[in-house]
């Protein structure tokens, strides 16, 4: 699965070695001229088969989501697909008591992730980048939650939050009838409880990304700053943070996508009960629930798609443009 949002950035583009004049774009043309007919067929297959698979399962279905959002369909024959215009969206925006809370929760999810675990991950990365001893051991501790599946994370945190037997309530004595604090069921609390678990995981992920970013910071910059008499905070603010710009972009995109994808943890936690509705949960419940409404579910998917593409497209355009210039 890809609860891990893959990370990509312009910096992945190789930097041509400064030495001899780099061999440039002209060469591939030479490649092409030497190709035999068989080679061309081989190449067409090599690029074609994966592309067809990817397009058929990812893009055709994404487009189908858009098309189906304007219809009703019982899923049985293609003849029963009926065009209903914007009805699904109208219903979604005005009639569905879960929709706006879900949008709100997705936004809260992002805001919390970007405000708490992200700076914390950066802070930890900065500390671990100081050539300290046992750095590996600390890294492993913070990173372990990222390795474990989100489903397992959900179960582990249930043991912490369970109102009867959980760690928190046992410690504070809230596990006796009448004193319950229902971390999982109470709609005022459960989103925050699950966000703590999500942040627990996100911190390690951000730490690793920043740690890799910091490896790319030229040590002489730091020395120069220290020689100029800057203290640690000033060096960070004026020298290190600005050079981390590419990493920051990746982190921002990763965090947005993670907030839009949030699903597993909540599903295991309480199936997206009141208080923890998310767009992804609404779509899924629409499929596996008793009353599957294809057009309606697709309308929610379109909302999610539009938000995602609003982030993905500008990011990728910027990425590939830079890559071309490089």
């Amino acid at each position: 699965m890809s609860s891990e949002t893959p990370t990509k950035s312009p910096e992945a583009a190789p930097v041509p070695p400064p030495g001899p004049a780099p061999v440039k774009k002209r060469v591939p043309q030479g490649h092409q001229r030497l190709l035999t007919r068989r080679d061309r067929i081989t190449l067409a297959f090599m690029a074609g088969v994966p592309t067809v698979l990817h397009v058929a399962l990812v893009w055709i279905t994404a487009l189908a989501s858009i098309a189906l959002a304007f219809t009703t369909w019982d899923g049985i024959g293609f003849d029963s697909i009926k065009w209903v215009g914007l009805d699904n969206f109208k219903q979604l925006f005005t009639d569905n008591p879960q929709f706006w809370p879900a949008v709100q929760h997705n936004i809260i999810w992002f805001v919390v992730l970007i405000l708490i675990p992200t700076p914390l991950g950066l802070f930890l990365a900065l500390q671990l980048d100081k050539n300290i001893r046992f750095s590996r051991v600390y890294q492993t501790a913070y990173f372990l939650p990222v390795v474990v599946s989100l489903a397992v994370t959900g179960f582990v945190w249930q043991l912490v939050y369970n109102p009867d037997t959980g760690l928190i309530n046992s410690i504070i004595g809230a596990n006796k009838p009448g004193h319950y604090i229902d971390w999982i069921g109470d709609p005022k609390l459960n989103l925050w409880a699950v966000l703590i678990a999500a942040s627990w995981r996100h911190t390690g992920y951000m730490m690793i990304l920043y740690l890799a970013g910091l490896k790319g910071v030229d040590p002489s910059l730091r020395e120069a700053s220290a020689l100029d008499g800057a203290n640690e905070w000033q060096t960070f603010k004026n020298v290190i943070f600005p050079t981390l710009r590419p990493t920051n972009t990746v982190v921002l995109v990763v965090t947005i996508i993670e907030a839009l994808r949030a699903f597993d943890l909540v599903f295991v936690f309480n199936k997206g009960a009141q208080g923890t509705e998310l767009l992804s949960i609404l779509i899924t419940n629409n499929i596996i629930g008793e009353s599957s409404r294809i057009g309606y579910g697709s309308a929610i998917a379109v909302v999610l798609l539009v938000i995602s593409l609003a982030v993905i497209i500008p990011y990728l355009i910027a990425t590939f443009r830079k890559e071309r210039r490089a």
Binding site: K8, T42, T51, K130, A212, S220, S308, L316
Partner: protein, 297 residues
């Protein structure tokens, strides 16, 4: 790089300083805090239910045993579900690497106009939330009949269906990373081969792929863990509980077989063991795979 030269004197210059002690104290405390939920789960899993229901969970243990682990493993036939995961994950990882390296090879070695567009398509597809495509995908899987090929007679509820969606979805990221990697290989390598009359396939299989081993190893590690940890695809695209891979099966098992929280904890931890082993053995590959796309080098 100058890192080594700059770091060496620094390292020697750090005897015990108060700032360092403070830093280590901070890091130890936060590390323990980060491990606490997992340690708590292990602690609960090691205790018999009768004891914890009597004395409460926050209490000194009289008895620590692996019984819960043993019972969770046996009662739920966990081996069967590990097998399901294996059937899905192994072909999915291999196919993803094969497909994405072929695309990357094409994109990085042959400047056929298309290549940026193709790469854009793959990467953008990989960044989409899975739920965007799930409704039509689910319907498509129900509509595709494969009598005799899968046990369910459809793409739905089959290991093949899961393998295909994993490959389609993950190859975007891998193609991106591998194409960047392949672009760093000198062009003369393949050019010389072409002039010598080697076929395109030989060029890919015998020259380019062996040079990509480090990147492939990193991606293989990453993919294994991602696919092993997948929860969503299987929850929606598999209907028979028996056919679920282990991570998704956990959701059903916890309701069906495991009645006490200690047993649930043991079951959940058992499913985490393979990922932890892979992570500890291949830590370098895992981390470099994760950051390969994000940073230089």
């Amino acid at each position: 790089m100058s890192t080594s030269t700059a770091a060496a004197p620094l390292k020697q210059r750090t005897p015990v300083r108060p700032a360092r002690v403070l830093l280590h104290t901070f890091l130890v405390v936060t590390s323990l805090a980060w491990l606490a939920p997992l340690l708590w789960a292990i602690f609960a899993a090691l205790r018999p239910y009768s004891e914890t229901s009597n004395k409460g969970y926050v209490s000194w243990p009289d008895k620590l045993t692996f019984d819960n682990f043993k019972n969770a493993f046996e009662q739920s036939d966990m081996l069967h579900y590990f097998g399901n995961t294996l059937i899905i994950a192994v072909p999915a990882v291999l196919l993803t690497l094969l497909f994405s390296s072929m695309v990357a090879f094409y994109v990085s070695r042959f400047d056929f106009r298309l290549n940026i567009a193709l790469l854009l398509l793959f990467t953008a597809g990989n960044l989409l939330p899975q739920q965007v495509i799930i409704t039509p995908l689910y319907r498509m899987y129900l509509l595709i009949d494969l009598p005799g090929i899968t046990a369910s007679g459809k793409l739905y509820d089959s290991a093949l269906g899961l393998v295909l969606i994993h490959v389609a979805f993950q190859s975007g990221f891998c193609a991106f990373v591998l194409s960047n990697y392949m672009r760093m290989l000198p062009h003369e390598l393949t050019e010389a081969a072409l002039v010598d009359g080697a076929s395109v396939w030989r060029m890919y299989w015998q020259i380019v792929l062996p040079l990509c081993k480090p990147a492939m190893a990193a991606l293989a590690t990453l993919l294994s863990i991602w696919i092993y940890n997948d929860f969503f695809w299987a929850i929606v695209l598999i209907s028979t509980g028996e056919n679920m891979p282990i991570t998704s099966a956990l959701n059903n098992l916890s309701g069906q077989y495991f009645t006490d929280p200690n047993l649930v904890a043991a079951g959940a931890l058992l499913t985490a063991i393979p990922t932890l082993i892979v992570y500890f053995v291949l830590q370098r590959q895992f981390v470099s795979g994760l950051t390969l796309g994000a940073n230089k080098g």
